[in-house]
Amino acid sequence: MNDAYKELLATCKSVISNPMAYVAEWKSRNPGKKAVGFLPTYVPLEPIYAAGGLPVGLWGSDIPVAVADAYIQQFTCSLVRSVTEEAFTGMYDGLDAVLFPPICDSLKLVGSSWDLNLSGKFLVEFANLPERLDGAAAGTYLEAELRRVSKRINGESIEDRHFPQAIALVNRLRESMAGFCTWRSAHPVPFADVAAILKAATVLHADEYRTLVDKVLSVASAPAEPVHAIPIVVTGLSCQLPHPEMMRCFDEAGLSVVADDLFLGLRGTPAVEENGNPYANIAKSYCKSAPMAIRHTEHAKRHEQILEQIERNRAKGIVFMVPKFCEPEWFDLRYLQEEIRQRRIPNIVLDFEEGLGATGSLQTRLSAFAETLSLR
């Protein structure tokens, strides 16, 4: 693998191992500017960049959950429990604000709890996304909501003239993520590394990330030796970027993930028009986003998308990797699995939680699935 790739991977791994150290360092380079944490899977990043700030994806870590259990039920997804543990133990004190998308009951509940208990440390705000995107009202509503959110987190209304640059920045961040994903299909790299590189996109400043990825994409390198792994599609992770070590189980089982929906919130929204009314343009982009479990009416479209991914990539099977206690993903799963079974596409459902060191069982289940596929 070329040196630019090694540099990208090393930087990404270092940043995601301690995102708050990067935030502190960035703030020392940009005095007076705000670092705004955000929860997955989608919040508008453009207003944060328009004010010169740094959006920071909050994904939690494998620290044991203890304090958070006093505030939320144990039957909450591991992402929510883990970020709550980090928030309540002071790990996010370097942030100026945290933006929540109330996409599920857990985030609604926990966001209110953070607001009640932590608002002395940083501002807690919700970006209330529309549930249905198929009517004209969704765009009009979201435009007004985005204006309100921008004003709340930036303390003042950012003038529209600051937006074109911020919109271009976020567009290029998406392009970098998509560009990297295209590149990796010709350069099979471990899925664990893909997860690390995508995760870092939510922490590093978009400019820095782009510079690193562009270097990789611009170096002409021969495609790596083909990996004799079984191509599969993974779905259920639209609100997740699990720890890369967890994703290593796919590599070790001899499975090559040719399409996934990791962190689809940002990756799945199309480029925003740079000129014109910025809030209307951002709202328009969100209304065209890829189908996701967070909106309960889109499982038919998700099904079509998965079939298309399987066909295009000649995938041999599909892994439904569903976060435990994630109500939106489990709601969709029944429909999706039924359709996939009817077509006799090999599939497996893996529920998972982060931070439990339980990769042994995940490894066994994925290896058994790989063995099943290799016999076909």
Partner: protein
């Protein structure tokens, strides 16, 4: 030791397959998960097998195979001892009964006691209170097996019950467990006296096929 018992030396083994949780660390030509191995072993002994229930010490697996014996689907229990052999061990200790006697004892019951099926720790304290309340040991033992059967049958329903059912693993030798599971699933269950080596048998069969193909 195993080689000695079989009267063979390591050099005379043409192809070795490692299976089980330590498979990656064992010295072998290839590693194969216990899921595939149990399926191969069960289908070899009972060719009509479509569903395999393997209750192990740490986890429980339910495996569905096609009429050709290929693994079609499977489910594993959660990271919890409830519904596993470990649950039976803990309960036997609480009842002060040898683990090998627990199954036969349960067959003498005519008034099974209810034991929680969702947690080993709660289950253990329930057993202790049944003992303190004067319930017959056989009735408590039956309750323990019904509790595991309840948990395992939930897992079986996740992959879908399809006859014939075969039990593999050491717990299959427990007649109380076979009886409770058969009642919970309303279907007979195949059992082989060497059920505890079904996974190893499957591994050996796969090793033979792989070696012959090479």
């Amino acid at each position: 030791m195993a080689l000695e018992d079989a009267g063979v030396t390591l050099d005379s083994i043409a192809f070795k397959i490692a299976t089980g949780y330590g498979r990656k660390r064992a010295e072998a030509n290839r590693d194969v998960t216990e899921i595939t191995c149990h399926a191969a072993g069960a289908v070899h002994l009972f060719p009509g097998t479509r569903t395999i229930i393997d209750i192990g010490g740490q986890d429980t697996k339910v495996i569905r195979v096609s009429p050709d014996g290929d693994v079609e689907n499977f489910a594993m229990n959660d990271k919890c001892a409830a519904g596993t052999g470990r649950f039976l061990e803990v309960m036997a200790r609480a009842l002060e009964v040898d683990i090998d006697e627990l199954g036969p004892l349960s067959l003498e019951s005519d008034n099974p006691q209810k034991i929680s099926s969702f947690c080993t720790v709660f289950g253990e304290s329930e057993v202790v209170s049944h003992v303190a309340g004067g319930a017959a040991a056989a009735d408590i033992a039956r309750g323990i097996h019904e509790s595991v059967a309840h948990r395992v049958s939930g897992l079986v329903k996740r992959v879908g019950v399809e006859n014939e059912l075969t039990m593999s693993g050491g717990v299959a030798r427990n007649p109380g467990m076979r009886s409770a599971l058969s009642a919970a699933l309303s279907t007979p269950i195949n059992f082989h006296e060497n059920s505890q080596i079904m996974g190893a048998l499957g591994a050996a069969l796969i090793a033979r096929t792989t070696h012959q193909r090479a």
